[in-house]
């Protein structure tokens, strides 16, 4: 048995050693390593010992450990997939995803056809290029006519697709009551039980003191006047230590404002390096070079969301830069290794339609939808430099948000989050659930956009960042569903007063006063119903 274990560790290590050669930082690391070996501090007599010593004193060991951590996380990302031949084991979901893609591609194509038969991509005209270059930092003044452009789809269109999903192997005993479209409970996907959630979110469910629960929380340790002061002192230490797993552990009890940005960077491995700055710059060059239809869609999306938002409007110009570059970033394509969605390929004009002559469209493979910008908005509060916002946004998206707009059976996918929401609500707020059911109200119609956007744009910024702390700390999106249920339960009294969909939406329209951590903690502290 032990032998097997050792073998498996050995196997994993070998696999990592292989994989690690393909990451960005590898070349630099290798060069550094060669330098170290050649340096005076490493002698031949005691080669192994002094090499390891100088690796650790130069900080290279930490870098290596962090690289392994990030690599492991990204492999874990696709783990549920690796064990199957297919990226999506459930045939009916795979089919639904394919149909959905077809639909949005068609809609994108027909829109560009409508607008004077514009091609999806072309070289940018010199005059246009000069204008964008000149206005790069104030793209809000870049004026183009966008009246004919409309978002390819909005959360509610996607919800419609999800609501129509049918599991062909499932037949309800009572056809009449279970008309299928009501909530997701008829889908037999695996989601965590409440008991499992309590274990996952251990620090929260044990009622440990957390940042964001209430303001003047005292510290339980000696020299600190408040919990916040204690967490700041500890946070500085964690940051100095520069260890990604430590950052993740730290974040479980929440980060004070002045610590958060650096902890997130560390945890996501999204530090700004000269290479990344250079990369960001190259993306900008590509924006200048090519004129894509999605550019207009994304500009329109910023206009429809951030530009009018009372908390985010100041970052409008920054967001144009971030989003335009993001849509040129081919690194993002790697998410398609572990989801069953496939990006569209466009055939180059005048070439034969072979794979060789085709490119992904848009270059990052993602069709923008209404509100996509909201994934980036909150990060503008964390970093001053566009490239820093960019790196963390990209890392965040590639770890979590890409799952919010595909049909899949993943436990982290949007479908599972909807189902988790429905199950928790039914289980822990049965009376409210019945109230909805008897009045033919579908709470998911209100909640869906919260889930899909990770609450961005709905909660006050500070509260939203606390929620995203929890996502990062526990490396899981399930907290979003927990919060959605908690909000409904918190507004229960008002919800009982109303008996139609529209009024329910009214009760839940304004979340600006919601305080996230007390609600999440209250829900998780509760006893399990057997």
């Amino acid at each position: 048995m032990d032998e097997l274990k050792i073998k498996s560790i050995h196997f994993t290590a070998e696999k990592f050693a292989n994989e690690i050669t393909s990451i960005d930082a590898y070349c630099k690391f290798y060069a550094e390593l060669q330098k170290t070996v050649a340096s005076k501090s490493v002698t031949l007599d005691d080669f192994k010992k002094c090499l390891l010593e100088s690796l650790s004193s130069s900080g290279m060991e930490t870098d290596l450990r962090n690289s392994v951590f990030h690599l492991m996380r990204s492999i874990h990302n696709s783990q549920d997939v690796c064990s199957y031949k297919d990226k999506e084991p459930l045939e009916y979901l795979k089919k639904a995803q394919m149909l959905w893609e077809k639909r949005i591609h068609k809609s994108l194509n027909s829109m560009s056809a409508d607008i004077n038969s514009l091609s999806l991509a072309r070289f940018r005209l010199a005059s246009d290029r000069d204008e964008i270059l000149e206005k790069w930092k104030e793209l809000s003044t870049y004026e183009i006519d966008l009246t004919q452009y409309r978002p390819v789809y909005a959360p509610k269109d996607f919800l419609q697709v999800l609501l129509w999903l049918r599991n062909p192997n499932f037949r309800s005993f009572n056809f009449k009551i279970n008309d299928g479209t009501w909530e997701f409970t008829h889908l037999s996907l695996k989601v965590k039980s409440f008991a499992e959630l309590k274990i996952l979110y251990g620090e929260i469910s044990r009622g440990e003191p957390l940042i964001g629960v209430h303001h003047e929380m005292p510290s339980q340790r000696a020299p600190y006047p408040s919990l916040e002061a204690e967490r700041i002192a500890l946070g500085e230490k964690v940051i100095a230590f520069n260890h990604a797993p430590a950052a993740q552990e730290y974040l479980k009890k929440g980060a004070p404002l002045c610590i958060r940005a650096r902890i997130w960077t560390q945890l996501l491995g999204s530090t700004v390096t000269p290479e990344r700055e250079e990369y960001f710059n190259r993306l900008k060059q590509r924006v200048l070079q090519y004129d894509l239809v999605v550019d207009k869609l994304i500009i329109k999306d910023v206009q429809l969301t951030a530009s009018n938002d009372p908390s985010y409007f100041v970052f409008e110009d920054l967001l144009y830069q971030i989003m335009l570059c993001f849509y040129r970033d081919t690194d993002v394509l790697s998410i398609f290794h572990h989801i069953c969605a496939t990006p569209i390929r466009g055939v180059l004009r005048g070439k034969a339609p072979t794979t060789k002559n085709s490119v992904y469209y848009p270059p990052n493979g993602i069709i923008p939808f209404h509100g996509f910008t909201m994934y980036a908005c909150p990060l503008c509060y964390l970093y001053k430099e566009p490239v820093a916002v960019y790196c963390t946004f990209k890392a965040f998206y590639m770890r979590y948000w890409f799952r919010m707009h595909e049909v899949s059976s993943s436990e982290q996918g949007i479908l599972a989050l909807c189902l988790l929401f429905a199950r928790l609500l039914q289980r822990y707020e049965p009376v409210l659930w019945m109230h909805f059911k008897t009045n033919h109200i579908q709470p998911v119609r209100v909640v869906f956009k919260w889930l899909m956007r990770g609450f961005s744009g709905y909660l006050a910024v500070e509260q939203l960042l606390l929620l995203w702390d929890v996502i990062l700390a526990y490396d899981s999106l399930e907290v979003i569903s927990i919060l959605a249920v908690a909000i409904l339960s918190f507004r229960k009294d008002s919800l009982f007063q109303v008996n139609n969909q529209q009024d329910v939406e009214g009760v839940l329209a304004d979340l600006s006063t919601i305080r996230v951590m007390p609600l999440i903690q209250m829900s998780l502290i509760r006893e399990t119903i057997p």
């Binding site: 930092k137 104030e138 809000s140 003044t141 700041i232 004070p256 404002l257 002045c258 958060r260 940005a261 530009s307 009018n308 938002d309 009372p310 908390s311 409007f313 100041v314 970052f315 409008e316 110009d317 920054l318 503008c380 509060y381 964390l382 970093y383 001053k384 006050a460 910024v461 500070e462």
Partner: protein, 432 residues
Amino acid sequence: MASNGSETRKQFSLGENSLNVRGTSTSMKSRVSYCTDLEKLVLTVNFDKRGWVRVNPDDDWNIYWASVQTCRNLFSVDSGYRLHDNQCINHFPNHYELTRKDLMVKNIKRYRKDLEREGHPTAIRSKQGRYTHLDIIPITYILPADYNMFVEEFRKNPHSTWIIKPSGKSQGAGIFLINKLSKLKRWSKESKPPFHPQNGKESHVISRYIENPLLIGGKKFDLRMYVLVTIYRPLKAYLYKHGFCRFCAVRYDNNNHQDLENVFVHLTNNAIQKNGEDYNNVHSGKLNMESLKLYLETTYGKSRTDFLFFNIKWLIIHSLKAVSSVIANDRHCFECYGYDIIIDEELKPWLIEVNASPSLTFTTAHDRILKSKLIDDILSIVVPPDGIPDARWSKRPSVDAMGNFHLIVDEEYDDRGSNKKIREKYQGSRWR
């Protein structure tokens, strides 16, 4: 007919007051009468909520929310109007000592000199000769009086930019920027036609332009903060928790100072910005104070942010102390000021001006909620617990009554430090 009705009410309420019968606040509320010459929803909503009745200026009112002009007429010797004990009004008679740009500067300069003469520790100066704690306004001269001093200062920094503002106007009227003496000379020639003698009297201030304001998203902004003073001697002032930032709609480019003419880059007044092409009606360029604090604490750290807000608090206290000896300390008066503050790149706050009638018009839903809560909180502080304005009241509201205001200076409390007994009693009323 209507005036008849208010006549009887007046007699009735006078009768009650002269007997000094204080029933429960609910029964008295309905007898409070108010008067206003500003048709502002956020005001009337709050008056109505309290069940106050609106009367004409000639009737007997308990509280008058007046424009500066009306207030001046009321207090003028000619009017011969005398306020009785159950009346209060929202301005001090000579508030302009603080709210006229030239007088504010004069008073602050005098205050600093006085403290320095006393050898007061707050008046210490740095090696460069600047005040360490009292450097709260940009260098400012009054025109035409201090013209020569200005020229001398300008010659020291010939590349500096200055801003010229009429002393008594508002909403950005008549404001412009200069970076050459010739422009100032041309302007002074043009602006004083000899046949318009009263024009010559209009004074201006010229201030060092803050060239390195803190930018967020590349844009300049200033802070609007609300400060309520209920009494000047001993000084008692409250700062409102919720203020907001007013953003310019056009980017402020640090490297390109050619465009001094473009008001949409330099002047943050809503009155100016709303005429701009890039103005947005939905948010109207206003970001709330919580968001600003969030951004600063996240990107600059907690200690620097706390220090900034500590300095803002002291800037306000100093500006009030600078005028507390010259303002007529009328116990019928209270005043809520709109402070305009600019934060520079070093996170140092600068006082730009103080407004006697900060705008009560709202441009967004958030703005409406903020401003009506502001009025609500002001009323709950200035009106005694029994609900009837009273100049003889101690002006010591309970902490609950303060709402989103918090006391930033309370000289009465400070003075009582020596008298422990009274202090304890007073604390009792503060913390009850």
